[in-house]
């Protein structure tokens, strides 16, 4: 008999969203990269759409699957790229989760949350690049990261909103939550 209290973690559903995240991470290879290591953030889409119906523990598990999974798939698990990926994903998640929980939906939309996550992600990546891995010269990528991040953050938020609006499958999941 399960003790009462916290609801159980829906591992099958989290695993499915983790797999989606890995799939999207692989899809990113289809797009040319104007600057090294810049990501569109497609793999953040599952994180973004699941904000509404995953618990904090489920979100953290999904985050772990995304970071470690993409590190294994891309072959970057034992490199400094993994540090960038982990820092950026963690920062954007904290910002997106905090905004989603603390700010009423009428004040900020999913597009705004996505944009805020992109800003946090890019700021942390640039800070890590300058402070730990590469040194001051890495600052030259900052305007590119923030500029392209504005566009991709907005686009990902718009995509997640459209998906949430039209997907019956997601609608059922949200109703069950």
């Amino acid at each position: 008999m399960r003790p009462s209290g916290k609801p159980p973690v829906r591992t099958d559903l989290v695993a499915f969203f983790g797999a989606l995240s890995l799939f999207f991470a692989t899809l990113e290879y289809l797009f040319p990269k104007p600057i090294p290591f810049f990501r569109l953030g497609l793999s953040n889409l599952p994180l973004l759409v699941s904000l509404g119906f995953f618990s904090f523990r489920e979100q953290m598990l999904l985050l772990l699957l995304k970071v470690v999974g993409t590190g294994i798939v891309n072959g970057t698990l034992a490199s400094h790229v993994f540090l960038f990926s982990t820092g950026a994903t963690l920062a954007s998640f904290i910002v997106m989760y905090g905004l989603h929980r603390l700010v009423p939906p009428g004040v900020i939309s999913l597009t705004g949350i996505s944009l805020a996550g992109a800003v946090a992600s890019n700021a942390v990546q640039i800070a890590l690049a300058i402070g730990i891995v590469y040194g001051p010269a890495a600052g030259v990528v900052a305007p590119w990261y923030f500029g392209l991040g504005t566009f991709t953050g907005w686009a990902m938020g718009w995509g997640a909103t459209a998906f949430l609006k039209h997907s019956k499958w997601l609608g059922r999941l949200r109703a069950q939550a």
Binding site: G112, A116, V119, G135, A137, A142
Partner: protein
């Protein structure tokens, strides 16, 4: 709506960091190469081949006729080579896996650089 706040924040960071990188100076145009040995400076108007050292090996940087490009690098994806030639202040090419940064500093941003920023 907070959406507009974050949009404004993101655009402000883009413009602010862009200004910091592209701000005009009186210094002559030069090529700044940062590798495992530190930062080295070279004039942009003298042809030369630079062997930048990184954890993966040697990245070959060429300065030819006022342009700079990465000719060869031991990285996997070769994004640094695909970045092509840079010619104006504020532009950069980088091999992140090999931790080599090359950028042009000094002088004023040219109209070509502004076009690149808009793209």
């Amino acid at each position: 709506m907070l959406d507009w706040f974050f949009l404004a924040l993101s655009l402000t960071l883009t413009v602010g960091t862009g200004w910091a990188v592209l701000a005009p100076t009186d210094a002559p145009l030069r090529v700044e190469v940062e590798d495992a040995r530190g930062i080295s400076l070279f004039p942009l108007d003298e042809n030369r081949t630079i062997q930048a050292r990184g954890p993966l090996g040697i990245t070959t940087v060429e300065i030819v006729h006022g342009g700079v490009f990465i000719d060869d690098s031991p990285c996997t994806n070769k994004v640094c080579i695909a970045m092509g030639t840079i010619r104006s202040t504020g532009q950069f090419v980088a091999c992140l896996p090999n931790r080599v940064f090359v950028r042009i500093t000094g002088g004023s941003p040219s109209s070509e650089a502004l076009d690149a920023a808009i793209w």
